[in-house]
């Protein structure tokens, strides 16, 4: 047995003259240079090289297609069509990359609500300092309903950041005590994206807070 093959011990390759007809599953990278028909289920990457032809329903983490794929692909991470890639079928993946030269016909679904939520949570987990700063600066946070902090965390990360604005403001308006005075600049921070809206709404509570809010503007704009 060729010893040199041991080098590829954790990599599966389907050579150019090989035809596999059936179900293929596994937990390692798979490179297809030949032909696979049926079904592919992997917990890692699928690489379809130029000579590769896949006629199968594919479920993987990451797919890189330089050859031909006919069938549906569901990826938990990413689907990439390189310049030589040709595909007919549907793609469901949080990230889809199609470069110039690739051809594709089918439907694309970029991440349903659940995967979007997961990615947002992952982003939050990856930036504990940023979110904790927001939390730390809001001394008012303990008084808020539990849903409000979550909105505040999610808002700087997503393009939906404009939406949560009204809610913190309404919660602010309710208590006119000094506590609200501390909270208002914090809640105003995500709304700094457009000054016009901010200038209209929070003016009644306390003008001085605006000064603090404008300081935070820098942070918010950086993320935008």
């Amino acid at each position: 047995m060729p010893v040199s093959l041991k080098m590829f011990s954790n990599k599966t390759v389907i050579g150019p003259s090989i035809l596999i007809n059936g179900r293929l599953s596994g937990d390692e990278d798979l490179t297809v240079r030949g032909r696979v028909e049926g079904e592919i289920a992997l917990s890692r990457r699928l690489i379809v090289e130029k000579s590769g032809i896949v006629k199968a329903n594919v479920s993987v983490k990451h797919a890189i297609i330089s050859g031909v794929v006919v069938g549906n692909i569901t990826a938990t991470e990413c689907v990439e069509l390189t310049p030589g890639g040709r595909m007919v079928g549907d793609i469901a993946s949080p990230r889809v990359i199609i470069v110039d030269g690739a051809s594709f016909r089918g439907h694309i679904l970029m991440g349903d609500v659940q995967t979007l939520r997961e990615t947002r949570e992952r982003l939050e987990a990856a930036k504990p300092t940023a979110t904790s700063q927001v939390l730390a600066s809001s001394r008012f946070s303990s008084l808020r309903p539990p849903s409000v902090p979550r909105l505040a965390l999610g808002s700087p990360l997503s393009p939906l950041s404009q939406r949560p604005i009204p809610r913190p403001l309404t919660t602010l308006n309710a208590p006119s005590s000094p506590a609200s005075a501390e909270a208002s600049p914090e809640d105003g921070s995500p709304s700094d994206n457009d000054d016009a809206v901010v200038a209209d709404k929070p003016l009644p509570p306390e003008p001085p807070e605006f000064m603090e809010a404008s300081k935070r503007k820098i942070i918010v704009k950086k993320k935008k």
Partner: protein, 106 residues
């Protein structure tokens, strides 16, 4: 060099055919027909009928084997099934159950 490798965590249920060497470190069920050599490594498990030119087995194979050239059962392999080939080598330590047919013509 063989350029098709079925890695150790891969499971294939179906048919594999082709004109090149195939190395199996994972699991294959169904049918294998090649015009070249098949290597079943020690981690490989094959539950399939095999039709190739050359077979080297160090893992487990259940199924009938037809080889046009040679079948080699290495030490520590486990093979259950009939073998038909002009040349058959069984190493010390190999476990085998089945018929052997070297296709001797009278």
């Amino acid at each position: 060099m063989a350029n098709t490798i079925i890695g150790s965590s891969i499971v294939i249920d179906g048919e594999i055919s082709g004109d090149e060497d195939l190395v199996i470190q994972g699991t294959v069920k169904g049918r294998i027909s090649l015009k070249e050599s098949l290597y079943v490594e020690s981690s490989g498990i094959v539950e399939a009928d095999i039709d190739t030119q050359n077979v080297e087995i160090a893992g487990r194979v259940t199924g009938n084997i037809v080889a046009s050239d040679k079948v080699e059962l290495k030490a520590d392999c486990r093979v259950i099934g009939d073998i038909k080939s002009p040349r058959i080598l069984i190493a010390d330590g190999a476990a085998f159950k089945g018929n052997v047919d070297m296709d001797i013509k009278d």
